[in-house]
């Protein structure tokens, strides 16, 4: 059924089946399926978006409109670690701006950019819903709370040790 671009792992295939059963319309599966394909392939390329649209019987234009409306979907390959600095008010009150300056200097990139080795990407995001432990930085899906320049520095040191993103 699924076109070749959607060559899923076994677990992902099982997840897809359960998503398809959870909703009365196929289009309602769109967000969960987009999350699934992004987890599988790292980002949502044009062919993948087209295949998802085909799978759910919706026009490609609709799938693309949805993709671009939501901030969590990536349209191009991501760095191995996407660093999301919360710029919400509570974090800003407790030192978020200094963290951002530190990260820009250390990684030598601006917001929205990726380091040349593909290891880190720097973003600012709106309130992450962790304001009780501000300032908050989210790296991929992990929340790092009560961050200071020192703590964040050690986190980056640790992450830099691992293998780089595969080409």
């Amino acid at each position: 059924m699924s076109p070749e671009v959607l060559a899923f792992s076994k677990e992902a295939q099982a997840e897809l089946e359960s998503i398809l059963q959870a909703y009365p319309t196929k289009q309602a599966c769109l967000l969960p399926v987009l999350h699934l394909v992004q987890r599988e392939f790292g980002y949502i390329s044009d062919p993948v978006a087209e295949a998802v649209a085909g799978l759910l019987d919706i026009p490609l234009a609709v799938a693309v409109e949805v993709l671009t409306f939501y901030t969590l979907f990536a349209r191009r390959p991501q760095a191995k670690y996407v660093i999301q600095v919360c710029r919400g008010l509570s974090c800003a009150l407790l030192g978020q701006e200094e963290l951002l300056v530190y990260l820009k200097n250390r990684l030598k990139i601006k917001e929205g950019e990726m380091t040349p080795d593909g290891l880190f990407e720097l973003k600012t995001v709106e309130c992450l819903g962790g304001c009780g432990e501000s300032p908050v930085v989210r790296i991929n899906e992990t929340y790092y709370e009560l961050q200071t320049i020192d703590r964040l520095g050690s986190v980056l040191n640790e992450l830099s040790k691992g293998p780089k993103r595969e080409a």
Binding site: A22, Y23, P24, T25, Q27, A28, C29, L30, L31, P32, L34, H35, L56, I58, V62, E65, V66, F69, Y70, T71, L72, F73, R87, G88, L89, S90, A92, L93, L94, G95, E97, E98, E126, C127, L128, G129, G130, C131, G132, E133, S134, R138, E141
Partner: protein
């Protein structure tokens, strides 16, 4: 200080508070046994009405009354949607229920679905909260195995399936009709009302949207009775609520306290006072959309009606404290930038207004503003009030007007001195 009453957080200090075992050992799923197939759905709705439970997602709408808008018998399937989008800046409470006591929410969903005649419920979780989705997924599996979900629950003849739906990073999807659109697999753009969701909601069917915390209150209400719950709170505001406290306080965190608890008590007793014992400069009492309060206003009782009376709002219960040394123009600019970023763009007063407000505030804050910019800002805020599809535009306009009113001298000083006269960043 009143005596400590814990309803939602009673199990939070146990390591295994998220398990079915702990929940059932501490009275969990007893309300379901008492109610399902034994008490009529209409009586359940009556009980919730009498409890004075208010919607804790932001609007404070009486929950029982909202439920009674579903016409009976329904002509189409009824859906219950649980709002776990938790996007209002300064709010971080629903996540604690989803991770630390997910069964309380599931039992609430079950009871609410029974009252409404819904056989499918979706919990819409903000996309970043993958840990909440995992915790809920596991709890739903546990509940299914134990016979609390699925077909013929506890032999009552009642069926219910509960699903977790992931959001994808858009604050506006917390607005209930945007949430419905998003669940249908569309961009999260709010719908025009009427028709209201109770008439035409998700998939064209009657739908109720309730916040996570609201629904998590339902089991104990039905177990202990409406009077018990109503008495805990203040006038027309039943029970407790989870206050998220952040910003310049010594002990930020989530505090469960009776409705109507004075803001001063929350800030200075529970949250430990202001960092460095610096004087308070201002406090947002109900999430970033709530008009700000000055230090002399913090004796207000924290419930929907008392806050409305002094021109602010209870909102999401997110309290953000700002100490002396915080630049109010800078703080307001931070909020305006947020709303400009999150406007869905359908209504021009909102799309243009939030964008302009952000630009003007950036100008004033940077010392490049003129006296007419302050008036312009006021005009922009008034121009975007009460004329849009959803309340996001007002959520931006109301704070702007309140900061301008209560800290006007600070805006004027920026313009006069052509720089920020306050230390612009953190106070401590």
């Amino acid at each position: 200080m009143k005596k400590v009453i814990k309803i939602l957080t009673q199990n939070f200090d146990r390591d295994d508070s998220h398990t079915l075992e702990t929940y059932t050992k501490t009275g969990g799923y007893q309300a379901v046994r008492k109610v399902l197939g034994k008490i009529a759905p209409e009586s359940v709705i009556e009980e919730v009405k009498r409890s004075n439970l208010r919607g804790l997602g932001g609007a404070g709408f009486p929950t029982g009354m909202k439920w009674s808008f579903i016409s009976k018998p329904p002509k189409k399937p009824v859906y219950l949607l649980i709002n776990g989008d938790e996007g209002e800046p300064g709010t971080f409470k629903d996540r604690t229920i989803m991770t630390r006591d997910p069964h309380r929410l599931i039992e609430g969903v079950l009871l609410a679905s029974y009252a409404l005649g819904a056989h499918a419920a979706y919990i819409y979780v903000r996309g970043e909260f993958t840990f909440c989705m995992e915790a809920l997924g596991k709890a739903i599996e546990e509940a299914k195995e134990a016979g609390y979900l699925g077909k013929n629950i506890l032999k009552s003849g009642f069926d219910l399936d509960v699903y977790v739906h992931p959001g994808a990073g858009a604050y506006i999807c917390g607005e209930e009709t945007a949430l419905i659109e998003s669940l249908e697999g569309k961009p999260g753009r709010p719908r025009n009302k009427p028709p209201f969701p109770a008439v035409v909601g998700v998939f064209g069917c009657p739908t109720i949207v309730n916040n996570v915390e609201t629904i998590a209150h339902v089991p104990q209400i039905l177990l202990n009775g409406a009077d018990w719950f109503a008495k805990i709170g203040s006038d027309r505001n039943g029970g407790t609520r989870l206050f998220s406290v952040s910003g310049h306080v010594k002990r930020p965190g989530v505090y469960e306290l009776p409705m109507g608890t004075p803001l001063r008590e929350i800030l200075y007793e529970h949250a430990g006072g202001i960092i460095g014992d610096i004087p308070l400069k201002g406090v947002i009492p109900g999430g970033s959309s709530a008009p700000i309060l000055r230090p002399e206003e913090i004796d207000v009782g924290m419930d929907f009606d008392q806050l409305a009376k002094i021109g602010s709002m209870g909102g999401s219960g997110g309290i953000i404290a700002m100490a002396e040394g915080t630049c109010m123009v800078w703080a307001l600019h931070n909020l305006a930038r947020f709303y400009a970023h999150e406007s869905c763009g359908q209504c021009s007063p909102c799309r243009e207004g939030t964008g302009w407000a952000e630009k003007v505030l950036r100008r004033i804050e940077g010392g490049h503003g003129t006296a007419s910019d302050i008036e312009l800002l006021e005009k922009i805020a008034k121009g975007m009030s009460a004329r849009t599809i959803c309340p996001l535009a007002d959520a931006c306009a109301l704070p702007i007007l309140s900061y301008l009113q209560k800290y006007r001298d600070e805006f004027e000083a920026h313009v006069r001195e052509k720089r920020c006269p306050v230390r612009p960043k953190r106070a401590a």
